[in-house]
Symmetry: D2
Subunit: 343 residues, 4 copies
């Protein structure tokens, strides 16, 4: 069998580990040939690909990035996008297409599958952990680890200087990274998109803490956190060419408000791209390997339109269309844990 | 309410994080007073304890070890063990006892609860991840991360010297650490207690790999891995005063057999206690915080004899007696992933 | 003997390790009593201090921050600053004052010493490594390690997305961190204050690299790097209340210029305070311990006005006034190494 | 010019970084062609080599191991060893040979150079840091970091269980790793080859500490540490085929003696090969890059028989024969620091 693979969307630790797992089982167990489309959907649309084999993937398990490149291009951006995908699948002889990506990339996969242009199996990738019907997307654990290590370091500066440190982490629509890193890092407060914040309550909580004799605080803010209407000004983030907001807006704004309202020296750190690159954590490497094996198994069972998912400690399959139908919010019980520490 | 806490069994990253979470929510939300029994069940039996409060636990979230000390002492070791537990609970006024431990410590908790000597709530702790009815015990993710980092480093030595490196990791009865670290570290072979190994097949797999031009291999061996009967000699491990095997036996034996059968230079590394100490991973800190909050909640709901458990991405509760009834083995699907890479 | 200690200036990994070493040798070997002034020179001026002993410092070796707090206050900020220092030394009975700090804090020490207000011994602290007459200041190695780890992660994002990543690191007046992290991280270009850069040459070097088929580049920029006059606009950085520039100005500006001149997607990461907090590296812990021991030895030899220094693989002493007379620039030979990689 | 490179002796973090630096400056600056001999001196003797260029070395800066392989083979092991080296140099047209290795590999380089068989320049590599006339060999800082991280983790186990933890680290003839990691890790005692230890004094120091209420201790032991004559039995370590001792002997013996003499539960951890593999620290990457650039510069200046060395914060050159004439011991002043903490 001939199987195509693509990686789309933002860089994410573990992409290579998924590809490697697919290639190994495909080649060694099923006797497949595997091709990798270059730069996400762009490679499928343009017919750019490379042959992949076990030797090609050697040494890539711990390496960040993706040997295939990535992009945010989607067939939907072209009038004849779907037709070009179909044409490429026919021209390359690929009978299946494993799509590794986040909400945007996978949604494009749904479109392609529903149009009958390719036999699609999805693998949920995003450091944001916001894909539905799976408890974990790969890259998330690594991102949380990086953010937590940064917060660990900021604590000592906060304490040595009696400062409030605001840390902006990734999370445009949901606050998984913020909530996990906030709890793991012992943050005083954690602000996430799911719950608009009251800046006055934020300032008051910090002042109350300081009055108890704790003069240093860490506030973790997801990039997509927003104030309750009418409580503070926040200009809309500048949007770049890929539809992504430039980072730093909400972190800067929250820091400025805290300093203005409390009088405490307040600094902001915007973690940015360091959260999405580099070697995957051990957990992510296991998850990626498992996802890759499960994806090539799904291909051989002809379970088209499915997505591999991590549920209940095992890998299962869900419908890809269902998984991307809506973003997965942070568990309210877990956000309550974040709040329990500094009430 | 007055609540007692104990930590028992081997050192495990995250013990302090659980205690800290319990104390914070108990004091700040419920207005409880919390006491910590010293050195596990020993402290309950002897009536040794310390008052715990939020200030006491400050700064302990990232710190390994346990501020309460630990031991492998159990009420079962004393004729009047249960009575002494009852007496201590009465003398201290503690209305509930949160037991943080692995199979041995929690089983003692079942005995104490069933005898009516204390109102017990359990928290599953073990780097081995072998407690039933929970997908994760805390400490496991940290141990896997440490073992994987070590394997990452051993790869380059294996490759530079064309060597077989045998790495013995913890796991007396089950091979969770070995399987996860083996997959994450890209091990050639992983041997676990759940599946007795055939040393001849191990040697043959390595030779086959070398014949394909790959002259370096990593073999991960759980300390409890055992050969199929009749295939190789393995003396029973020396047992120390706590009923624990001295490490290194099976790793050494497997390395010697591989070297003898293949002729390849083979070295062994026994990871030992570094796997169970030090700062917890971000995931473990979140898990510990969540467990601690959930445990004090269970106390206030009077759900005695329960254990907090991680299932399906959320915390739920199971019966403690059921959880310790049998060890949780490695998922066969996951062990198949480990095997898929180097068939 | 009664000895005072203070830590001044910005947070820096290893401050506690120096204090711990001083206290241990002072108490155990010399039988001294040690007091710690709070919040740098502020504590000396105000007479705020705490007694320090071995128990007090237990567990602090790996911990970032400073148990004494810090500030940028200097006796020079007060008309009677020197007199108040003298008064505090007399009131507390402290016969010597160990001053742990960077250029500002140590310069104040020179003033105090030369005015005869205290018997001063200096310890060179700064992540910037810009103190003269010592090859290493503590905190620098840790900062370089953090910056390098971040660059390692940014590489994969740069490569996956064919991007230019600009990384702004600390270094207001000198480019030690930038040069070391640039070399260690495999940066394409490194811009430091010692050598004003030509933005057109920067853009041209990146374009040339891309024409050779390498579409990803990392540019490391010290916060104090400045363009050659007339080559590009760079507004002066906003200065905060401590005379420190707000971060991010030059990084943002360089990224914008590169994107405008080359057309390549370019992003900026400002590492900020994560570089100066958290646990010190092993090397910094050794250096701090050695500095602390050497400082208390200098006190007992009455070598007032001296600074302990790392030279030629050993600790020696130099005159504090000489050490702060001028900042130590990056070795031209080492900066040539940085340039050798991507000519 | 045509230049040969070899890497010999044990695996060491940073070998690739040195090769990469040589190749980059050789190709880009000098227009040289570089060949890499395979498996150390073995490749020179057998005439096995590979062409090296910038593309070949891409991505290797952070990667442990050596792309050239290594061995402990030496021309001295063959009657016609020197002649074969000469023949290979002539056959390959290599006008210079950069020898990257430790004492054994470099000593062979002296022999080859003095026999006029090749124009040799040496680069000092060893995690043991025992080469003379250089303050630092590469790989050492990484090894110290790994050992320190392990000791950090062992502390919590020691404290949770009131145990003595003995940690055996590398260092057959000198105790640099032990001394640095012992100080950085806050070890109670550090035993090194330079100072034979009195096991009774060791046991007494631990008992004294315990009597002061500190029930946990870490003892760092270099693999080559030896007891004072007559104080305790220590069988000579088993020697493997490469003349290297099997690890673990002295650590096990010291642990057994401590347990027997003090009665405290005592465990041993043998760090082994994890100390010598994997990604180099930032400092080692800088040092390696600098060494590589300096080595190819030395070649072009025709400074045959020299070794690049790190002295006084800069790279200089020394005579290779002098550098290997005797091992560099630990600075007594630094060992005093190790002893100052727990007198």
């Amino acid at each position: 069998m001939r199987v195509g693979v693509l990686t789309g969307g933002g860089d994410c630790p573990g992409l290579n580990a998924v590809i490697r797992a697919i290639v190994r089982k495909a080649e060694r167990h099923y006797g497949d040939s595997v091709i990798g489309f270059l730069d996400g959907w762009h490679g499928v649309i343009e017919g750019n690909f490379t042959e992949l084999d076990v030797n090609h993937m050697r040494g890539t398990l711990p390496r960040g990035g993706t040997v295939l490149g990535t992009s945010r291009v989607s067939p939907r951006m072209f009038d004849d996008g779907i037709d070009r995908v179909r044409a490429t699948m026919e021209a390359t002889g690929a009978e299946a297409l494993i799509v590794i990506g986040g909400e945007g990339t996978l949604s494009a996969g749904v479109g392609v599958f529903e149009a009958g242009a390719a036999n699609v199996v999805g693998v949920p990738k995003t450091i944001d952990n916001d894909i539905g019907l799976t408890e974990l997307t790969f890259g998330f654990d690594t991102a949380v680890g990086i953010a937590t290590a940064a917060i660990d370091r900021l604590h000592t500066t906060a304490e040595s200087h009696d400062r409030v440190m605001v840390v902006e982490v990734m999370g445009r629509h949901v606050g998984h990274i913020a909530t996990w890193a906030g709890i793991a890092g012992g943050a005083t407060l954690t602000l996430i998109p799911e719950e608009p914040f009251d800046i006055e309550a934020v300032a008051e909580a910090i002042s109350r803490r300081h009055r108890r004799g704790r003069w240093a605080s860490i506030v973790v803010v997801a990039e997509g956190a927003r104030p309750k209407e009418g409580t503070m000004e926040l200009s809309e983030p500048e949007i770049d060419q890929f539809g992504h907001s430039r980072l730093g807006g909400v972190g800067q704004a929250v820091a400025a408000e805290i300093e203005a309202r409390t009088g405490y020296d307040t600094r902001v750190t915007v973690l940015g791209h360091v959260q999405r690159g580099g070697t995957p954590s051990a957990l992510d490497r296991v998850l990626c390997s498992w996802y890759g094996i499960a994806a090539i198994d799904a291909v051989h069972e002809g379970d088209w339109g499915s997505m591999v998912a991590f549920r209940g400690g095992e890998i299962s399959r869900v419908r890809l269309a269902d998984a991307v139908a809506q973003l997965k919010p942070v568990s309210p019980a877990l956000y309550d844990v974040a709040r329990a520490f500094f009430p």
